[in-house]
Amino acid sequence: MKQEKRKKPIWVKPWGYTEGWLIVLGLFITGLALQLATGGLDRSALAWPVNLVVGIIFTLIIVLGWVFLKRKTPVAWLGSIPAAVTSIAMITFLVLLMGFTLQEDAQNPVWVQKLGLSNMVSSWPFIFGIIFFLTSLGMATVKRLIPFKGRNIGFFLNHAGLYIIIIGGMLGSADLKRYTMHLHEGEIVWYANDRHGHQVQMPLALELISFNMEEYNPKIAVIDPHSGRIIPETISEMFEIDKGNRGTIFGYDVEILEFHKLSGKIGDRYEPVNDFGAAPAAYVRATCEEGESTEGWISSGSFMMPHSLVDLNHVYDFSLAMTIPQASHYSSDVVLYTESGDVEEVRIEVNHPVSAEGWKLYQYSYDDRFGRWSPSTVIEAIRDPWLPFVYSGIYMVLIGSVYLMTLGKAPVKENGEQS
């Protein structure tokens, strides 16, 4: 780069990296000043149809700008690698700052908030950076598109695809709606809450029939009964509880003689029941190296039942315990009512959202005080009208990345091996 500088004064055709770094600096300072003066961009200002208009005008400027002005130095430069690399570097720098800062205003000092660091994607330096980045990317795409050549197809898929993803994602976020619907068994709910807790009318209603949860078997652990903590050396010895399972833990030979996934305490023993608040319980036997053995019931308990431990020594330093079972699946069976009058029973499960009336419904949460017996559920309703557009870009880059893999060149003979 030093050589380049000496050869040619700055801002004289053709521009290179020096001009790029100066532009980055200029954008950064201007952005920062704007940020300090006005705070970040309010995304909702871009809501439909403003975002569509902005997107079309921006893209038209790039296309027409290239077609008519490609001989002008700045325009030619924007479609070149130095512009690409410096804009990539600017974005990298800003995202790096973002990578080290918690993206949440409330948990950061005021100066961090003022600089826009805790809300990077809405801050002006970032937006200026993205505009520079998109301009360079767009110009590069058009440069190779006109005139069209078949061998540029891979290039086109990658660059145009990425352009579509980024512009669609940025502008589309103004139209993204994420609401939560809180359902209780037997209630028909026609409204949702936004992030600030305001109620919004929905074009569909949900009625919870039942919340369902399946759980993995709990594990057996050795804990300190005073702190409730697992004894660290035994963590790798914990094993799954099931009738007949046996293992060595903390020097004890431990056998699971009985296991009920759902049980209730009857007298001093546990019997299988399926009542509200039932908890898993196991009858275990622990034998120490000297041959002495202890037996008893352990249970992780539930909101209705206390947990239960088996003490391994007489001074109560450590006890056998059952871990709280982890959910393997959870879902909500709901009745879905639409404005057009359809009534349908559906299951909304994690990773399996349900689509209706342009919304996608996700299993979001439940009342974790009650675990599997939760009488309520939270469904997240999401609407993202720009999704098909962004997805078309994602598919283009997916194909483009396969093209990228084929770019490796045939090996040159490197004067034999070097190692």
Binding site: I88, T92, G99, N351, D384, I394, S401, M405, G408, P411
Partner: protein, 265 residues
Amino acid sequence: MMPFDPTLFTISAIVCWLIGMTLFLFQDKLTVIKISAHGFFLAGVVVLTVLAVMLWQELGRAPMRTLGETRLWYALFLPLTGYATYIRWNYKWIIYYSGVMAIVFLGVNLAYPDNYDRALMPALQSVWFVPHVIVYIFAYAILAVSALAAIKGLYVNYFQKSRDWSPQLADNLVYLGLGFLTLGLLFGALWGKEAWGHYWTWDPKETWAFLTWIGYLAYVHFRHHQPKKVVVAMWVLALAFVVLLICWFGVNYLPSAANSVHTYS
């Protein structure tokens, strides 16, 4: 409670690679040595593959959840990548580097044995889980080799003061690795939409995955434009790998990750 001992497999794989690498040193002496070198090196890969498959069956889920489990796949793909690169381009040093790296990773797993756990949180139970992780680990393995190529290039440049060195291997590996990295990123986005409701939320793990990706993008473009400035390019490549490592291991420890949905044990 495992009906088999993962430690045994891990140690056998390490032993196979050690023998294989030693034999590679003397492969020019006898054809038998050469064949056994290849045999032992590949046997290590096979042993580890068997372990991965058995774990998968035993756990009833893909063994790709914990860091220890991803280290296992890394230790599987890295020698495979190194071997393929060696066969394709005949760089012998790659065999040793990838072998040693894989052994280090398995060593970490031996020092900190996993508590193999069948539980897989519901959000991870998706058709995207396996392709997403496999493609990523594969990309990481390839890009690790490209980082080694970069370090070798820098070494040759600064210590041997030699310009007689071509970054072509690094280029080829980056094209391949960046392709896989892009697939991983996009699979992740498509999965995120189904599991968490949005394809991109600038979650800390996503932020660092983006940084990793864009670092390699910078490399590709810089190389395309200034193929002569090899040293700058190799620095970019080495730094991109540092970012990759932060993305893989470091994110859990960053303050910005306090609310991440992607920090698993």
